[in-house]
């Protein structure tokens, strides 16, 4: 199971690949995936800056969050090695995401629909332009 140290070398540096689990494909000793992912992260960063200055209306934040999520997925899969991890690790990593989705889903399911019955009229111009018009103003 474990790597056996060479009898002639006590130095740690002399027995490579101490990890028994699978590695990514490597080019020149280092996985090229790291550099590809890094380049993609930089491209996506400049894309998110670029779209912030474009008039996209309500789609601006949606696209910005989609780009952020793409970046996060790249980091999780490659920098954090989840792509090559066990199924159980996927479940653990996904559990945090699931509960976050519940948090956002239920919260916005509430707030975004409060104005539907117009029980509380909006009192200021800002409140009128907000989707949360059913909320108290102050």
């Amino acid at each position: 199971m474990s790597q056996h140290a060479s009898p002639t070398h006590g130095n740690d540096a002399d027995h490579p690949h101490g990890k028994p689990h699978q590695e990514m494909q490597e080019v020149g000793g280092i996985s090229m995936a790291y550099f590809v992912v890094f380049a993609l992260l930089l491209i996506l960063l400049f894309a998110t800056v670029d779209i912030a200055f474009r008039t996209l209306g309500p789609f601006g934040p949606v696209i910005a969050m989609a780009i952020a999520t793409t970046k996060a997925v790249l980091v999780v899969l490659f920098f954090m090695h989840v792509k090559h991890a066990s199924k159980l690790t996927w479940i653990f990593a996904g559990a945090g995401l699931l509960w976050l989705a519940i948090l956002f889903g239920l919260t916005f399911g509430d707030y975004m629909t409060r104005s539907w019955n117009d029980a509380v009229p909006a009192t200021t111009h800002e409140a009128q332009t907000s989707p949360f018009t059913g909320l108290p103003n102050q």
């Binding site: 199971m1 474990s2 140290a5 009898p7 070398h9 006590g10 130095n11 740690d12 540096a13 002399d14 027995h15 490579p16 101490g18 990890k19 028994p20 689990h21 890094f38 992260l41 930089l42 960063l45 998110t48 800056v49 912030a52 200055f53 008039t55 601006g60 910005a64 969050m65 952020a68 970046k71 996060a72 980091v75 999780v76 490659f78 920098f79 954090m80 090695h81 991890a85 066990s86 690790t89 653990f92 559990a95 945090g96 995401l97 509960w99 976050l100 948090l103 956002f104 919260t107 916005f108 707030y111 200021t124 111009h125 800002e126 409140a127 332009t129 907000s130 949360f132 909320l135 102050q138």
Partner: protein, 273 residues
């Protein structure tokens, strides 16, 4: 550095390990100094370390998630006030800092790679590079905080946000008119000022809380990495024992992901004019 001096310092890698193995000899799996006695083999140990770290990161996701959901709700409630407050943040400095943080994630990933293949020098180099980039990020953050402090944008008694006094551009003027602070003919509307101050202050409350907690996470991460540099310099946490470097990497990348969301949410809300 001779191999004999290294092996003499790298003997017990795990506290509590019997330490009976001589690293100079071929070792059986159960006598491997990198393997804690309560695990069957290195693979099981690695799986346990990974799962434990992800369980911790799940709690961190919820920790930041609660703040983020509150911020997004407030943003949607007061879009105009939050928009004009967010425009005071320097998006160019923010973009540069995000680039620095992404670079630190790459160097951390490379540090984990070199620790796995037991390359002591490159592991140390990459860990120190990560700390350097993280410190640069925090330095820029401190500069941004001091700017906000000087502009009275820190929530509290001295908070005073008066963008109409600083030659607002066309977009800012339009936003202030929408917020009711300026009337249609450009006059200041005093009755709308208290609500405007409260709402923009709320934005800066979120800004300092979110970025401050992120910075605290980075300081903790940099401290752990410096401790790793010390361990690695003594030939520890390499090869079979590289799990410690890898788990620190998971934490560092997570903190990077938090910033990946904070940057567009805070700095780039809607810059179109």
């Amino acid at each position: 550095m001779s191999s004999s001096s290294l092996s003499s310092t790298s003997a017990p890698k795990v506290p509590g390990d019997p330490g009976s193995a001589d690293p100079g000899q071929a070792v059986h799996a159960h006598a491997n100094p990198a393997l804690a006695h309560h695990f069957d083999d290195l693979q099981q140990q690695h799986e346990a370390h990974t799962l434990g770290m992800w369980a911790f990161l799940a709690t961190e996701i919820m920790f930041f998630g609660g703040l983020l959901v509150a911020f997004v709700v407030s943003t949607t409630m007061y879009p105009v006030a939050f928009d004009i407050a967010a425009r005071q943040l320097d998006w160019q400095v923010g973009t540069m800092n995000t680039t620095v943080l992404l670079c630190s994630s790459l160097s951390m990933a490379l540090a984990v790679h070199f620790a796995r293949v037991a390359n002591r020098k490159m592991t140390m180099l990459m860990l120190l590079l990560t700390v350097f980039l993280g410190t640069a990020f925090l330095g820029v953050k401190a500069y941004e905080y001091s700017t906000k402090w000087n502009h009275h944008l820190v929530p509290g008694a001295s908070y005073n946000f008066e963008p109409w006094q600083h030659h607002p551009d066309e977009a800012e003027t339009r936003l202030m008119t929408r917020a009711g602070v300026l009337t249609a003919n450009g006059e200041l509307n005093a009755s709308a000022l208290p609500a405007f101050q409260t709402r923009t202050q709320l934005f800066y409350g979120y800004y300092f809380t979110l970025t401050g907690l992120h910075a605290v996470h980075m300081i903790i991460g940099a401290g752990v990495i410096l401790w790793l540099v010390f361990r690695v310099s003594k030939g520890q946490c390499l090869g079979d024992g590289s799990n410690f470097v890898e788990m620190t990497g998971l934490y560092w990348h997570f903190v990077d992901i938090v910033w990946i969301y904070l940057f567009p949410l805070l700095y780039l809300m809607d810059r179109s004019s």
